[in-house]
């Protein structure tokens, strides 16, 4: 794939210098430098939360100039993008992971959504269709321009997105995990397309977790970790060492960020057997594929995997069938088959699920701490259907002290608490239901280091109290630091299991990557 002009001598089309970006006290990017040369395919890799998407949002103007530190040079000139239109004018086009097409509009309408051939403000349909056909041909699609998006598969939708980008005279194409939801044939076609773009002088940035794909197409690879650039590898200087990339992606010291615990593991109290779940809308898409797992009392089991691996789908479908359709399989609690067919029954059976999305699924933000804590177990603070407000308040105060929820009283609106304190309220709510099995989905997402430590301590306390705890997390160090056993999920299946003491980020990542390569 070597071009006549060596890469090293090509001018940079894009330079991002010393980019820093914070959200409140959380530093998402610190002093990131990132250079892309004209005509190359540049891969950007890193763990979930390493800052890849944030960096691309800075580049495309989603985060406007002034909201970050550092400078962006495009074609050698410093640019101050105020919004995404500014960057699009220069030909910087970003294609997001979640496709932004309007399902009930045609391909042509989607491609020329904002602007397009028109006469005196009236759409010139024939011209539109003609141009659409030309664009579709470039990405290898033969569909009619009037086809509705909803009738296309994900792979073709992805190609329509790219055709849309081409309609805007793209110079720098940014693809955020373009092959994440594609099957192998579609992925291969997409990668071929990228190579062809390279021949036509279009520069691409590709964010991906799939190392085999990256090593196939990328000219250079930049690794991000914890919001910093770890380094850039040139793929033309020698064979790409995937292990080297993985090591750079995950290397991090664990120090004492995780409170110590001596596990006291008892009998198996939670079993899921042959669990299968299908996508709620696309009934042919199997999200969880016949998986089984066992958890013992006092055990903390982690579920690792990339975004979209099916972890949340698995957990929510078990918890009262709150996700998916055509769910099959059995759940056993304390050796007996348990009815978890709705949330109410699942709670009764001793199950609790702490959502990954506390703002939308976990809390009633306009209500106070007290009402949120009692919500899942109102029976516990009432008699014959009437709530005892004093008892409710006392329960809330007890949890406020025990979980160290920082607020001035239990009557404070949960919407006004910090992320960490909100998470503690959600945890309190579920602890009040008296569960035997807790599933914690991304329990420390978006909360600061101090609060994280407290959440880990709570996990330890729960395990010590003989509960079975399942932790779903995208942060591998967190799983390694807290779990007795880590199961690796990929594309709806468990593809590996690592004992806590043997777990390293490398061998977890390798389990995922190996699977992807197949």
């Amino acid at each position: 794939m070597l071009d006549p002009v060596p890469l090293a001598e090509k001018p940079p089309i894009l330079e991002m210098r010393g980019i820093s970006k914070s959200f409140g006290a959380v530093k998402a990017l610190s002093d990131v430098s990132f250079t892309v040369k004209e005509g190359e395919i540049h891969a950007l890799v890193g763990e979930n939360g390493a800052g890849k998407s944030t960096l691309m949002k800075v580049l495309s103007g989603v985060y406007p100039h002034g909201s970050y530190e550092g400078s962006i040079l495009f074609d050698g000139d410093e640019r101050h993008f105020r919004d995404i239109n500014d960057s699009e004018k220069l030909g910087i086009i970003i294609i997001h992971q979640e496709l932004a097409l309007i399902p009930l509009m045609s391909i042509a309408e989607n491609i020329f959504l904002a602007k397009g051939p028109s006469k005196f403000g009236v759409i010139d349909r024939d011209l539109r269709y003609k141009r659409t056909r030309e664009l579709l041909a470039k990405v290898g699609l033969t569909e009619a321009p009037e086809t509705l998006i909803t009738n296309l598969g994900v792979g073709k939708q992805q190609l329509v997105e790219i055709a849309k980008a081409l309609s805007k005279d793209v110079r720098l194409l940014i693809l955020d995990e373009p092959t994440a939801s594609l099957n192998e044939t579609d992925s291969a076609a997409l990668l071929e397309l990228l190579k062809e773009f390279r021949r036509n002088g279009i520069t691409s940035i590709m964010i991906s977790h799939k190392l085999n794909e990256i090593s196939e197409v990328a000219d250079r690879i930049t690794v991000l970790r914890d919001g910093r650039t770890v380094g850039t590898l040139d793929c033309h200087e020698g064979p790409v060492d995937e292990d080297e990339i993985v090591r750079r992606m995950v290397d991090r010291d664990l120090e004492s960020r995780y409170p110590a615990r001596t596990p006291k593991i008892g009998d198996v109290i939670f079993e899921v057997e042959n669990w299968s779940v299908y996508h709620p809308q696309h009934s042919s898409r199997q999200m969880v594929k016949n998986v089984s797992m066992k958890v013992r009392a006092g055990e903390v089991v982690g579920i690792s995997g990339l975004m979209g691996a099916g972890r949340t789908e698995f957990a929510m479908s078990v918890f009262g069938r709150t996700y998916g359709r055509d769910i099959t399989g059995t759940v056993k609690i304390h050796g007996k088959e348990a009815d978890t067919s709705d949330v109410h029954r699942a709670i009764k059976a001793g199950l609790a699920y702490v959502t990954e999305d506390r703002k939308h699924l976990g809390l009633i933000l306009a209500e106070d701490i007290r009402k949120n804590i009692s919500l899942a177990h109102l029976g516990g603070v009432s008699s014959s259907g009437v709530i005892d407000d004093i008892k409710e308040m006392k329960v809330a105060q007890e949890f406020r002290t025990r979980m160290r929820i920082r607020s001035h009283n239990v009557y404070q609106e949960t919407g006004k608490l910090s992320g960490g304190n909100q998470q503690k309220v959600v945890l309190s709510k579920w602890l009040f239901t008296g569960p035997d099995i807790l599933i914690l989905d991304e329990p420390t997402r978006g909360i600061d280091v101090g609060a994280k430590y407290e959440i880990y301590s709570i996990i330890n306390e729960l395990a010590d109290a003989g509960k079975a705890v399942i932790v779903i997390s995208s942060e591998m160090p967190e799983l390694i630091g807290t779990c007795d056993r880590i199961m690796v999920m990929h594309e709806g299946e468990f593809v590996g299991e690592v004992a806590g003491e043997e777990a390293t980020q490398e061998n977890i990542m390798r389990a995922i990557m190996r699977r992807k390569g197949r």
Binding site: F23, G24, A25, V26, A28, F319, G320, T322, D342, V343, H344, A346, I347, Y353, T355, K359, H360, L361, G362, L363, I364, L365, A366, E367, K371, L375, A376, L378, G379, S382, G385, V386, I387, D389, I390, M393, K394, R406, S407, H408, N409, Q412, K416, L417, S418, G419, G420, N421, Q422, K429, G446, I447, D448, A451
Partner: protein, 396 residues
């Protein structure tokens, strides 16, 4: 990503108390201000015993329906069909009692059950079929208006049997011989109600204090109770010096107390607020949101039917025009009373105050001779203003 903001400094108790409760008392203060304004503007006619009784009678059905509407709005829905349903049920009552001579009590039960069924049908489409309530009840509004005209054949049916008329135009039977024109039984009933309220307040305050729960300042508490006692006592006195306590006022008071208790203190009441506040989170906490939404519509249907009966009894005939535009007054009462259009927020007391606020304005403006045209303009502006103030307060 969230912005961590630790360490909330505790503000002084007194200021936070006022801030927290301003919203609750703001509405009451507005009502009092409007009453005073019209009392002065009408040269004292507004608070004449006859007029007070009239205000109660004129607004009773709005209050009754507002109780049901509040629950619907709290779940995040709306019911536009209540006026038509009330009218339809009035027509049905006329048909049953006047034309077919069915027993009064049986007719009333049939009417309430039919109301509940209508609510169930609409609730089914909203809750289980997930069709926006705005559309379902807009359809219901047309359908039941049409049915009513069909069964009445576009003419009024009446008069109703005297016992049924008593529902709206009857008064509490006087057990004690009245002296000096004062209906003592009614007055005593009113005073008892006021005392019961104050006693309840004292009891719950004492309970809170023994359990060490923060409570409102003592001075404020006593002041509040004196005001409650005086206001209810005064209204009871006025009403008792006209014809005594209307039956419908008793029904209304019982319903207000029952719904107040239901929304504040029961598990189901709490769950309704949770569904309105965040339906997904409520469902994931084991609350059966769909079922609750369904039942709020059934409840609304029954109360709309009751409202329809009260109106029919008051007009003493079932007319094809009955119930027209009620939905707007009922919905306005809830929103003026502080309910949120986004769901999850709203109080029974607020809706009742909202209904009376509208009622006093209607009445006062009529006395002042303001035409129906400008009455509507003013009511519309008051609705908009009240909600603006509320939204502004929440944004602070």
């Amino acid at each position: 990503m969230s912005t961590p903001q630790e360490a909330i400094t505790a503000p002084k108790v007194a200021t936070s108390f006022w801030k927290d409760n301003l919203r609750d008392y703001g509405m009451l203060i507005s009502l009092v201000a409007i009453v005073i304004f019209f009392q002065v503007a009408t040269g004292g006619i507004l608070l004449k015993p006859l007029n007070i009784t009239n205000i109660v009678l004129q607004n009773s059905y709005i209050v009754v329906m507002a109780l049901g509407m509040l629950l619907i709005i709290v779940t995040g829905h709306i019911d536009l069909s209540v006026g038509s349903v009330a009218g339809f049920i009035g027509g049905l009552a006329g048909l049953l009692m006047v034309r077919w001579g069915v027993d009064i009590w049986l007719s009333i039960i049939v009417c309430l059950v039919v109301g509940g069924l209508i609510g169930a049908i609409q609730g089914y489409f909203v809750a289980y079929f997930k069709i926006p309530s705005f559309i379902v009840t807009l359809a219901g509004m047309l359908v039941f208006r049409g049915f009513m005209i069909a069964i009445l054949g576009s003419q009024a049916i009446g008069p109703f049997p005297p016992i049924f008329q008593k529902l709206s135009s009857g008064y509490v039977i006087e057990l004690i011989s009245s002296e000096g024109g004062l209906y003592l039984t009614s007055f005593i009933l009113g005073l008892l109600l006021a005392l019961a309220l104050v006693w309840q307040n004292f009891r719950s305050r004492a309970r809170r204090i023994t359990h060490g729960v923060e409570s409102e300042p003592m001075g404020f508490f006593i002041g509040k109770n004196i005001v409650v006692l005086a206001a209810i006592g005064y209204v009871a006195y006025l009403i008792s010096s006209h014809r005594g306590m209307p039956n419908v006022l008793i029904i209304m008071a019982v319903l207000i107390v029952a719904y107040g208790f239901f929304t504040n203190r029961t598990i189901i009441g709490r769950q309704i607020y949770a569904v309105g506040g965040n339906a997904r989170a409520a469902e994931l906490s084991g609350i059966k949101a769909t079922r609750l939404v369904f039942w709020t519509f059934v409840n609304m249907g029954v109360l709309a039917a009751l409202g329809g009966l009260v109106v029919a009894a008051r007009l003493n005939s079932a007319t094809p025009k009955a119930g027209t535009g009620f939905e707007l007054d009922v919905i306005a009462a809830c929103f003026i009373g502080g309910a949120s259009a986004y769901g999850g927020v709203g109080k029974v007391t607020g809706a009742v105050i909202g209904a009376f606020l509208m009622g006093v304005m209607n009445n006062g403006m009529s006395i002042l001779g303001i035409g129906i045209d400008y009455q509507q303009v003013i009511k519309g502006l008051v609705l908009l203003g009240a909600v603006c103030v509320d939204v502004y307060n929440q944004r602070r």
